[in-house]
Amino acid sequence: MAVNFLYPDYEVSRNDDRCIACRVCERQCANEVHEFLADTNKMVSDDAKCVNCHRCVALCPTRALKIVKNNNTYKENANWSAKTMNELYRQASSGGVLLSSMGNPENYPVYFDKILLNASQVTNPSIDPLREPMETRVFLGAKPQNIERDEAGRIVNNLPPHLTLSMPMMFSAMSYGSISYNAHESLARAAEELGILYNTGEGGLHEDFYCYGKNTIVQVASGRFGVHPDYLNSGAAIEIKIGQGAKPGIGGHLPGEKIVGDISRTRMIPEGSDAISPAPHHDIYSIEDLRQLVFSLKEATNYQKPIIVKIAAVHNVAAIASGIARSGADIIAIDGFRGGTGAAPTRIRDHVGVPIELALAGVDKRLRDEGIRDNVSIVAGGSIRSSADIVKAIALGADCVYIATAALIALGCHLCRSCHTGKCNWGIATQVPDLVKRLNPEIGYKRLVNLLTAWQHEIKEMIGGMGINSIESLKGNRLMLRGVGLSEKELEILGIKYAGE
C-alpha cells in the first residue's frame, strides 16, 4: 500500500558494540523481526513486525538489545490520542472489529492500590511466622445448616462436597487451545505440588492430564467442548462458566486453524472447524435454568463434586451472586474487568464490566445481608498481581483468589498482548510445535511453585503482622483495611474506613 498510516509503536534498539551476531534473536522471533546480513556480518531488525514480547531481549546473551517506545508523534491532542487514531486507521483499512488479548490495560482506578493494610502495635502482639505456626489452609464449599449427632452424641460429618487448598489461591481457567500443552502441564504439576487446583477452561481435558484430577477444576462453558461423563468425574470440582471478566456478555472463538490434532480430539470437534462458544448458555436464559444445570451436573457426578459458577463482574453482580447462592452452587467465582483473555474485542475488553474490588465487596456484603454467605464460597479473580492483592481481596470478603495472568508472567509472558496471533514466542499462547517446545514444563512448573510459595510466605508475614495466625480470621476482616484517595461512596461500597480514622 502506498500510504502507510501506521508507524511502529516500538523500536528495536540494538547496541552494535555489544552485538556478537550470534543470531539467537533471529532464530527465536516467530514474527521475523531480526535478520542477519552475511555481507556485513550485522543484524538488522524490522520494527513494524515487533510485538514487544521481549523474547529476543531476554535471550540476547550480551544484552545488546532493548525495545524502546517510539518517539514518532502526532500533533499533541488530549482528546484524540495516538492510540485512538491508530485504532481508527486500522479499522478504516480492515473494516473489522479490533481484537486484543490479556486484560484491560486502560487507566481505570486500581482499588487494590488505594487500600492499605494494618499491623499490630503494643495492644496486640504481631506474630512471627518463622517462630509460630501460621495457617493458610482454606476450604471452599457450602457449610451445613445444622449440626447432626449420632446416638453416641458424636458429630456426624454432614459436610457438602468441598475443596481443600493449602493456600487461598488457584489457577484460573485457561483452555488447552488458548494455551499450549506445556503451559497446561506446568499449571497441573504446580497445582499438584502446591496442594491447590488449576482449571481446564473450556477446552476439555487432555488425556495425559487425567492423573492430576484431584487438583483439577473441569469447566463447562457455553460451547460444552470436551464435556463427557468421564471428564466431569475426573476433576475435583466442576465450574460452570457464565462469563469472563475480559469479555462479559460475549462468547469465544477459537479459529479452525488451531483446532488440530490433540486439540480437536480433546474438544471433541472435527479438525479445522471453528470452536465457537455462544454468548449465553443456550440452556440458561434465567436463574432457574442455572439451577437446573447445577443439579444436572451434580446428578452426573453423584453429588460428589462442588459446583462453581463463574461470572464476570458486571453492574448487577451482587444480585446475580445472590441468585447463584440460592441455585445449589457451592462456590461463586467473580472475574473482574481486568481479567485476561486469549482474545477479545478491544472495545468490550476495555469498556465492559466493573473492578473486582468493588464487585467483591458488594457481593460479600449482599450475601451477608441476606444471610446466605455460608451457602457459598467466593473466589475473586481479575488481575491479582501480588500477595498484597490477595490479602486485600480476602479481607474484603473472598475465600480464595484465582490467578492467571500472574501465572503466565511467571512462565515468561511479557504481556505483549498478542495471544490472538497464535505466535507466542514464549510457547504459552500458541500451538505451533516449534514454539510450544520453548516452554519446558520442568522449568515452568518450578517457576509457578516458586511464585506461589513466595506469595504464601508474604501472606504469612502480612497477616502475622496483623496478629492473625490463620487465614480464616482475615476473611471479611475489613477493619484491617484503610482507604487512601477514595471518595465517601467508594469507601462505603468497599466497606472500609479512610486512613487515619
Binding site: 558494540d17 556478537i20 550470534c22 527465536q28 535471550l59 517446545k437 520453548r438 522449568i443
Partner: protein, 143 residues
C-alpha cells in the same frame, strides 16, 4: 560422575550453548568483549535437520576410543574427564577420525580441542548448561 546430557525434546536450536562455550573458554568477564567480531569455534555445537535439533559434545566415555588411539598420550582420563594436553598433541587427528560422536575437533592453534566440562575455565561448571534457556542441556549424575 556428572556428565553433560542433552534432550532434543527441549532443544530450541538457538545455538546459545555454542556461544556460552566459546565465552567460557575465553576466560573474559564480558561476552560482548570476548566474542565481538570473532568467528567462534566452540566445543559443543548444534546438529539440526528436519525440525529436530540437539547439541553435540564429548560424552566422556568410560572407555574412550580417542584416548586409546592417541599416540602421544595427549588425551588422558583425569577424574573421569577426558582431557587434552595441548603441549603433547602433534595434530595427527587420529582422535578426530576415530571418535564415533564427532566430538573432537581441531583448534586454531593446530592441537585438537574437546569439551573438558569447563574444568579448566573460570566457570568451573559447564557454561553451555548454564546458558541453555530451556533445560535441554543438563549436567547430572546418571546411573
Amino acid at each position: 560422575m556428572k556428565r553433560v546430557y542433552v534432550n532434543e525434546k527441549w532443544c530450541l536450536g538457538c545455538h546459545l550453548c555454542e556461544y556460552y562455550c566459546a565465552f567460557g573458554e575465553s576466560n573474559k568477564k564480558d561476552m560482548a568483549r570476548a566474542l565481538k567480531d570473532i568467528k567462534i569455534n566452540p566445543k559443543i555445537w548444534i546438529e539440526e535437520k528436519d525440525g529436530v535439533s540437539f547439541a553435540v559434545s564429548c560424552r566422556h566415555c568410560k572407555e574412550p576410543l580417542c584416548v586409546k588411539s592417541c599416540i602421544t598420550g595427549a588425551l588422558t582420563i583425569k577424574d573421569g574427564v577426558v582431557t587434552i594436553n595441548k603441549d603433547k598433541c602433534i595434530s595427527c587427528y587420529t582422535c578426530i577420525l576415530i571418535c564415533p560422536y564427532g566430538a573432537v575437533s581441531p583448534s586454531e592453534d593446530g592441537a585438537v580441542q574437546k569439551c573438558e566440562l569447563c574444568v579448566k575455565t573460570t566457570w568451573g561448571t559447564p557454561a553451555c548448561v548454564e546458558g541453555c534457556p530451556n533445560g535441554a542441556i543438563v549436567f547430572e549424575e546418571r546411573g
